[in-house]
Subunit: 203 residues, 4 copies
């Protein structure tokens, strides 16, 4: 029976890059895949874009509330006779819990492997709705490693607004003209920035 995988990692851990490489490897061996992205992630529109510049066209750009299993079936049928081998999902933290359930059915009822790439937590160290359901249902978790400024593995995504590390705000940053970036930090460095800001989202 096919499996539902969750490959999670902090910002800049190469999630989109790995997705694109995996899709390419399947194609090279003549195996059909579909690439899925939540429409909520407007960056890149209907492309998966990796930091290094690699790009891949999204097959299913799924809106909130849509039945993702039905969309995948339709897209697979449109590809013709070749059996679908694997579904690759970018930014899976932005899917709804119901859509993660639908991906679980793609694996367990349709016997098609599903690999979800995504963040595990937001900048306040809380699970996204999609990642929560993935931690409940996925067969396997794999960390895509990236580094903190101190050389340790980074686990947290710290929001930086106009150069300052911030510990309050909406889960998805609203575009209000400020320059918003993220820094991937290990637990110890996250605590240090939290202390410096007089905040307390952990501890």
């Amino acid at each position: 029976m096919a499996k539902l995988h969750f490959k999670y990692g902090a910002m800049n851990s190469g999630k989109s890059d790995t997705l694109i490489k995996t899709a390419y490897n399947y194609a090279e061996r003549g195996l059909a895949t579909l690439t899925v992205k939540p429409a909520l992630d407007t960056k890149g529109e209907d492309w998966v874009v990796a930091r290094g510049g690699a790009r891949r066209r999204v097959d299913v750009l799924v809106a909130e509330g849509e039945d993702l299993r039905a969309r995948i079936r339709a897209a697979a049928a449109a590809q013709g006779d070749q059996p679908l081998h694997c579904v690759l999902v970018d930014e899976s933290q932005f899917l709804s819990p119901a859509q993660i359930d639908q991906l679980f059915l793609v694996a367990k009822r349709d016997d098609v492997s599903v690999i979800c790439y995504g963040l595990r937590t937001d900048f306040l160290a809380h699970e996204f709705p999609g990642s929560r359901r993935l931690f409940e249902l996925a067969d396997n978790f794999e960390k895509l490693p990236t580094m903190c400024r101190c050389g340790s593995q980074a686990e947290f995504n710290c929001r930086v607004v106009d150069g300052r590390h911030v510990f309050e705000g909406d889960q998805v940053a609203i575009d209000d003209g400020a320059v918003v970036t993220y820094e991937s930090l290990c637990g110890a460095c996250f605590m240090r920035e939290q202390d410096a800001a007089g905040a307390r989202v952990i501890g």
Copy 2:
């Protein structure tokens, strides 16, 4: 910097057994550990009890609302001069999110390794409060494998009441005289039992 580990597994994956073996290995090398258990888990009282019969006395039996980091410090001080090497937590899914934060501080401020053993989800495939916070904060996840009746890896804990697989009820079963057990199932077999019961907790 010390790490916070989450070793999760379905029922009967040998979590308590592994905890006892790990504590024994540390002791054999002269390294101090503390064993922690939430008081919410009344089974075994202040002992960690493995299926095979191995037992280990709990050092810190922690009630809901107690400061777990303070309890650990006090217990370490009571052991004398030897530096604390590792904290081992049984049934960690029953800790509160705040107590998981306190364990995170034990790792990141006190530089003591913490290994949490626990279930990831309840019988309805929802995270426990303690496991949710562990998925948000732990440095590493490791699955302790166990088998489904079909030979695949089991991921879900299905509740069996008086011989029937059930899909409703409280997260922790109330003792009302019924015989309550759990069966560890893979995703496909969980779906099969869910369908047979006309329930729909996944999908």
Copy 3:
């Protein structure tokens, strides 16, 4: 297609204990397994014996030069109609390379999972013949962790003769009346003992 797994670990990492627990888990779910041990390992005779005292009768005690796949087939047939689900091998480092090939065929031609437990290296940090072939052919490697005296993970098996760490001798210690034990050490502590003995088996 079934897989050939190599679960390696230093002395006292609980290899036999894990084997016994795994066999028990399969049996509990009504799935047939066979337990294999090389006759070269005379300790325990035809029993797998774990440090904690758990024991399990060996189904196939295989001598050097014997065809292990044929022995497994015969033992499976003798168990009756139930299909064989998994072969569990203790002390697999003592099998010959040809016997590891035969286990590979059990997985890839007979579609039966094989889990080999064993040491990766001898006391001079050289692969055993069986572990070398496993590193060449196994689908997956998994480390069963154990600790060094310093609290780090132990990777090496240092021979201790009459209380002294030694760095020369036969791969399998000859019984000449001396008390031979092994200490599991991390790389740094192994180097320290090697330096103290004026030896140089690494570096």
Copy 4:
């Protein structure tokens, strides 16, 4: 204490690509690394070249018989005052066992992390000299996955000469005008090609 890692994978598993991405991640955080390659691998000369086109200049191109630890020290000193954080080694299967020992000392005496990328076996399913020593000494193994034509994970590197899968020849192909490529295969498909060729390198 720093660790020696072995990240192995079949052909086209993205080993060089991962090395380049890792070096880039370190640099982005202001942490110094060195990139090492055996001169035996003449492809790309003193560049690490990934399939997708990414490239990275090699800092230490090491010949057989050279002291790799001395070369690393000299290269680190030439970079100036910044402490060396990590050594990244491409095509590590081509290093000599003595050079792997030298990398072990870089980790365990100089406390600098070393990540070796390489193949585990040649086209006849035998370890390379460098990979053998890595299996003996490395702290951790990690498989970089790639796919077989059948969709399973590929573990073997089958040599293809003028379109035919071959099972004899030198470990490193001699350039005699024939077109030599490699196909990454799973165990079952490797056996199928071996049978078709009437060869028997496994089993």
